[in-house]
């Protein structure tokens, strides 16, 4: 885990703006400014199709968008995934090749699988299993844990709690809280109760605009139609 050893000593700030995405005649993202700082968990909420995944993929650098600006401490980093130790991304779909064993996936990511899964002892017997042999929930949990423990300044998680059983969701949320000391997390998930309980900052994607919610977040979520009143 030496890739990130040359990180700046102080907090790092990831900023993204200028991201404009149009599908057909529908503008998915139009006015976006997003900021994540190490030591923070930032929640990104929005209705289905509002562009949450597209936004995360654009920040990660997997989706090329003209005029998109992604910066860390003011330095332009596009595509961001090419910068070792900067950030990783958990997509909605399976992350690992199905033939890969968990132990090998962890080694490639530079993660100590024993410590990454220390709070989930039932996963130990599966270290030698291929990812394709795991249940959907276990695979999701391991993917999230390995990226969480990887030595990057930021982690972008798209639906990390999806398919994970409740008792593990709680522990995973606690792990996120613990590890935010070392990194910044940007999370989007429809399990808003869990997301709101761990987030320091909440954004809502609404009609192509990214709104930062301050004050009574739940009330604003109701006002914008994300929650039922």
């Amino acid at each position: 885990m030496s890739r990130n050893s040359d990180k700046p000593a102080g907090p790092q700030v990831l900023e993204a703006d200028g991201i404009r995405i149009v599908f057909g005649e529908r503008q998915v993202l139009g006015s976006v400014y997003l900021r994540v700082q190490t030591g923070q968990i930032v929640g990104l909420l929005g209705r289905n199709g509002s562009g949450k995944s597209v936004l995360l993929q654009t920040i990660f650098g997997a989706r090329a968008v003209a005029d998109a600006s992604v910066r860390v401490n003011g330095r332009h980093v596009v595509p961001a995934f090419r910068h070792p130790g900067l950030l990783n991304y958990l997509p909605q779909e399976p992350l690992f090749p199905p033939s890969l064993t968990l132990a090998r996936a962890a080694r490639l990511l530079g993660v100590d699988i024993e410590s990454a899964t220390a709070r989930f002892p039932e996963l130990r017997s599966q270290f030698g299993s291929r990812v394709g042999e795991l249940s959907g929930g276990s695979a999701r949990l391991v993917q999230a844990l390995l990226l969480l423990h990887a030595d990057t300044a930021f982690s972008l998680f798209d639906e990390p709690f999806s398919g994970v059983m409740p008792v593990h969701v709680e522990t995973l949320a606690e792990e996120m809280q613990r590890l935010k000391q070392h990194k910044g997390l940007l999370i989007t998930d429809h399990r808003y109760t869990e997301v709101l309980s761990i987030c320091d900052v909440v954004y809502l994607l609404h009609q192509g605009r990214l709104l930062r919610l301050d004050g009574d977040v739940r009330e604003q979520l109701r006002d914008y139609g994300y929650l039922v009143s």
Partner: protein, 109 residues
């Protein structure tokens, strides 16, 4: 793990996913064209043409791979390896294996 070693392992892992098709094409060219040419004694100067033919099949593999496994790149992105670097590595590795096998056949047979 040093970054370069990780990226080389990533290319090798990615190659495993496309190897059945790429090695199948190699075997077809070597067994259907080079082997008879060696036996009949007209294989001199054939290798560059065969290598080019082999390389020309790479876009077909790339296209099929994109269509059949659109989400296959996420893990490699997380290892800081771009799509272009993966395919460049795979084509170089596959071309090298093809050339090695062809030279071995010419030497042994």
């Amino acid at each position: 793990m040093p970054i370069l070693a990780t990226q080389l392992r990533a290319v090798a892992l990615f190659y495993r996913g496309v190897a059945p098709f790429m090695l199948g094409v190699s075997a077809l060219i070597l067994l259907a064209v080079l082997l008879p040419a060696i036996r009949e004694g007209w294989s001199g100067g054939l290798l560059p043409g065969l290598l080019l033919t082999k390389l020309a099949t790479a876009p077909v593999v790339w296209y099929l791979s994109e269509q059949l496994r659109p989400g296959q790149y996420w893990f490699y992105y997380n290892l800081n390896v771009s799509r272009r670097r993966l395919w460049t590595g795979v084509v170089a590795l596959d071309g090298g294996l093809f050339l090695g096998a062809a030279l071995l056949m010419r030497t042994v047979l």
